[in-house]
């Protein structure tokens, strides 16, 4: 990874890191290979009945790259409506497709955690006790010839 000033800033002061009490929903992205995971917490606001991400926080068991990805993606997600958040996730995953799996794994984990949190929120509109969704990444952190296929939960 080439380290520029922006990345260093995210490493020194990760944006939106921490737990959120009274979150409207949370979701998880997991790496089944090594137990690393990201939790995304959402606080949802309403703008003329349109739900949007009023606040977002994340926590991670993972490496510095995961923290940087969490810091950047949660900043981008803040203020988006739910469709916008899904578009952000899809755009990120498309970009990651072009990267080697070991470089994509951390950001994929964050993007999937955002998707899981948004979808959990949508389910909770119908079913308030709906459990948090967990998605597993398909990229692998360590380069290897034959990576296992991991389907999402």
């Amino acid at each position: 990874m080439t380290v520029d000033e922006q990345l260093v800033m995210h490493m020194m002061e990760p944006k939106n890191y921490g737990q959120m009490d009274n979150a409207d929903a949370f979701g998880l992205g997991k790496n089944p290979e090594n137990g690393e995971k990201v939790i995304i917490y959402l606080s949802i606001g309403k703008d003329e009945d349109e739900p949007y991400i009023n606040d977002i926080k994340f926590q991670a068991i993972g490496c510095t790259t995961t923290i940087v990805a969490g810091s950047m993606l949660t900043e981008e997600a803040k203020g988006l409506n739910l469709e916008g958040a899904k578009n952000l996730v899809n755009a990120t995953l498309k970009l990651l497709d072009k990267l080697p799996p070991e470089d994509a794994a951390c950001s994929e984990m964050v993007a999937l955690a955002i998707a899981a949190a948004v979808e959990t929120y949508e389910h909770r509109l119908e079913e308030p006790d709906f459990p948090p969704i967990t998605y597993k990444i398909k990229s692998t952190c360590t380069p290897k010839e034959d990576s296992d296929e991991n389907s999402n939960d």
């Binding site: 490493m11 002061e13 991670a60 068991i61 510095t64």
Partner: protein, 277 residues
């Protein structure tokens, strides 16, 4: 007691960070940080004895200052706040012991001279060390990764020690705490010199509230082996530019051998005592 523990945790970290960024008062800050960490463990023991639930959660500890006296003032405020909280602590002997230390610390802190701080300049240059861009990037990533990891390990071993009555295990846990503290101090000092000092992020509960000690130790041994590899790679990356730095990372790499041996010893002992195959 829970509030006191959180506040002591926060001021311990802030004192440690002050030690990294200071040139003139490093020893005092580090000594005081060590004392505060001991307070933290005593309060934790008190909570365990009282059967109170607790975690290592804490608030943010902002440290980005241009002058040391700003941070010193903040530490003084935090220490004074703890003094007030101590008044309601049931364990009066503990409260008095902590209070006495805090009074002395505040007295020393108020007499410290100011310093201009360069620990947040982000210039990623270490005086006297010449590094290529590639080596500098590798070192930057390593320092962020490992400074957090050492803080995490200090908390994990401390939690394990607090919840174990096995003297043999606790002796090993204490050595591992001391080793991680030493590494944390080395890496924090280097981060400050490179202008990239940062407070480690909060450690998630499930990492230190270990339910399966055998799995934790086995995974820990694997992680130490990986850490050795990272140190080796870094030593190679910086060796072209700087032999001294390469020697330092070889030294850290070799220390991991000792950690692995200790963890293997702990694993063997734990399995024997608990009749685990």
């Amino acid at each position: 007691m829970k509030t006191v523990m959180i506040k002591v945790h926060e001021v311990w970290l802030e004192m440690l960070m002050a030690g990294f960024m200071s040139n003139q008062h490093k020893r005092e800050f580090f000594d005081f940080a060590d004392i505060l960490f001991r307070h933290f463990t005593w309060i934790e023991d008190g909570m365990i004895r009282a059967g109170e639930e607790y975690s290592y959660d804490r608030g943010a500890v902002p440290i980005k200052v241009e002058h040391l006296n700003i941070l010193i003032k903040d530490i003084e405020v935090r220490l004074s706040d703890i003094e007030l909280q101590l008044m309601s602590l049931e364990d009066r002997a503990l409260a008095s012991r902590v209070d006495s230390d805090i009074k002395y610390m505040i007295n020393v802190l108020t007499q410290m001279s100011d310093e201009v701080i360069s620990a947040f300049s982000m210039n990623r240059v270490m005086e006297g060390y010449s590094l290529s861009n590639e080596a500098r990037d590798a070192l930057t990533l390593f320092l962020f990764e490992e400074s957090y990891k050492e803080y995490e390990l200090v908390l994990i071993y401390n939690y394990l020690k607090a919840h174990s009555k096995d003297a043999y295990m606790n002796r090993i846990f204490q050595i591992l705490i001391d080793e991680s503290m030493f590494h944390l101090k080395c890496f924090g000092d280097m981060q400050a010199k490179m202008g990239i000092l940062a407070t480690p992020r909060v450690v998630m509960k499930e990492l230190y509230q270990v339910e399966d000690v055998v799995k934790f130790l086995k995974d820990g041994i694997d992680e130490e082996i990986l850490a050795k590899e990272e140190c080796k790679k870094l030593a190679e990356a910086v060796s072209k530019d700087n032999k001294e730095l390469a020697k330092f990372f070889d030294f850290i790499n070799n220390q991991e051998n000792y950690h692995i041996a200790l963890m293997e010893d702990a694993l063997k002992h734990y399995q024997e005592v608990n009749g685990i195959e």
